[in-house]
Amino acid sequence: MTASIDPALQLRPQPSAFTTLRRVILDRPATIFALIIVILFVLVAVLAPWIAPHDPLAQSILDVNKPPSAVHPVGTDQFGRDVLSRLIYGSRNSLIFGFVSPVLAAILGTSLGVIAGYFGGIADRIISRVIDLLLAFPELLLAILIAAVLGGGFWNVVAVLTVAFTPGFARVARASTLAVKQEPYIEAAVAVGLRTPMIILRHVVPNIAAPIVVLTTLWIASAIRLEASLSFLGIGTQPPNPSWGNIIRDGLNNLFGSPWPIIGAGTLITLVVLAFNLIGDAVRDALDPEASR
């Protein structure tokens, strides 16, 4: 009798991950806007050599500080370089920079946080103290400090920001792991005889992934902003290579004579940072399994 299928046995309708995502996006037109910005941003960065109208490094004494024109749509800077081309090439730095540190930090921080949260004890105490210590430093100051010791340059700054972002991920991962560890399904996995590393990979990590992914998107925005700040301060991307931050720095010398570089780079930074923040919010809502009930 019990082996036969119950007549009224029906499952609850369940929206697929895709429908949930689509619903979250459609509910908020701002998310569509953000997606378009991000897609354009990535496309421009990848296709920079093909779409930039000029060489971003080519100087021309004759074209110094020109306002926008047909040849130079965003004008030229103090060395006569085409600002549009520099902005297009600058997006490559922002993109690489924006993704590399947060992703590295996510991997490193999640590993540390999960270890601290799952095993507790001495491992937790050591990791937690290091996290607290690192969180006490403002990341910008930390970056300046390390740059002062190691010197500026792209990879040094990537390393600095990775170190600066890691504790945030570790803290979120640790807290989420502590919560997930209390769930009966973890005890169930122990009870069926699953090894600890597999319990962590199969049952802990997938269930703490949502806050980590959200944090990653939000920190992509921060990283882009920080790269601009550091380059502006002269310790990020080194001239003559273009970056949105050093375009603003260079433009500052002639702010009133030729505001175009600053306007261009400033607008782009704002748009892209805003877009990633909006996407972070959307991802958070879409990944929450309870929200789709």
């Binding site: 499952l11 996995a189 049952h203 009930r293």
Partner: protein
């Protein structure tokens, strides 16, 4: 009769010892000196109210929690001495069904993956297809359509999820299953389905249950023997018929009479206990039940009664348990 499980003097104290600011009052004696057997193929019901240590006891037997003292013999082997690797292999023979049908299934894994996991661990169905076939068979055994294999738990109702939990537990053909309040989170009309299913599976496979519950009515149909716990100790244990017809411990009697039943005129015979269950971190001296016991005397506040035989197979820890039981109905 050979005992499949024999727990001897089993105890668990929670709360760290030592430390500058911790006194003995931070310690919770959740399980205290518990001794009992579970025979092969039988169902022992473990009944008690919240905080009595019944869930802790169930987890101690499976070493999901390590005991503070005492031994657990499984088929003659002391499992408290096994290394964690040896214990993992032992899990093929002892499984658990959880109370919470919502929390006990990993939310991002499909039903097939959840039931297939123990098969994979113990190499019981090698290869993807073999595993899927076995999972389909298990789903069918617990009354779920095998077509649901690739669905996620959140689509299932509480009763359906509990069937999945049961399928996971029986997947490895265990000889012992701890069922930790498997129906208390379910609707009444679904409870009967799950209890009947568990009974049918036991009849076919011959495993033993430790069936944990918070009231006596629900285990009446499935238990062979019943143990009643209060504040970390077993206060009465015996064959089902004697526990229901001639309970000897006043707590068993109160528990038996307290649950309201949809019957006409049952209210008058109810024993209502005074007060609350004391905190397990502050267990009363003497008989721990004396603060609520309707028949407590001076001796109860002073001496803790041992768990002593009151009838063949029936033991009770009460100074006033009668060696020759009189059925409750006649006494009233």
């Amino acid at each position: 009769m050979t005992a499949l499980i024999r727990a001897e003097n089993l105890g668990k104290t929670f709360g760290a010892t030592g430390g500058w600011f911790r006194g003995a009052s931070d310690q919770v004696r959740a399980v205290d000196g518990v001794t009992f057997d579970v025979e092969a193929g039988e169902t022992l019901a473990l009944v008690g109210e919240s905080g009595c240590g019944k869930s802790t006891l169930g987890r101690l037997l499976l070493r999901l929690i390590d005991p503070t003292d005492g031994t657990i013999r499984f088929d003659g082997q002391d499992v408290t001495r096994l290394s964690s690797a040896e214990m993992r292999m032992m899990r093929q023979r002892m499984q658990i069904i959880f109370q919470d049908p919502f929390g006990s299934l990993s939310p991002r894994r499909t039903i097939g993956q959840i039931i297939g996991e123990p098969l994979e661990i113990f190499g019981l169905a090698r290869g993807r297809q073999a595993r899927r076939d076995r999972v389909a068979q298990l789903l069918d055994q617990v009354g779920l359509p095998p077509a649901y294999m690739d669905r996620l738990p959140r689509q299932f109702s509480g009763g359906q999820r509990q069937r999945v939990g049961i399928a996971r537990a029986i997947a490895v053909n265990p000889s012992f299953i701890v069922a930790d309040e498997p129906v208390s989170a379910l609707d009444v009309s679904i409870q009967a389905q799950i209890i009947n299913l568990m009974q049918d599976l036991q009849r076919d496979a011959g495993f033993s249950y430790l069936f944990i519950a918070h009231d006596l009515a629900v285990v009446r149909h499935i238990a062979d023997r019943v143990a009643v716990m209060y504040l970390g100790r077993i206060v009465e244990v015996g064959p089902k018929r004697q526990i229901y017809d001639a309970p000897q411990h006043p707590y068993t009697q109160a528990l038996l009479s307290a649950a309201p039943e949809p019957e006409v005129d049952t209210v008058s015979r109810r024993i209502i206990l005074k007060g609350d269950v004391p905190s397990p971190s502050n267990i009363p001296p003497g008989c721990s039940f004396h603060t609520r016991c309707p028949i407590a005397q001076e001796i109860c506040r002073r001496d803790r009664p041992p768990l002593a035989q009151v009838a063949p197979g029936q033991l009770a820890a009460c100074h006033f348990a009668r060696p020759n039981p009189i059925p409750l109905g006649d006494a009233a």
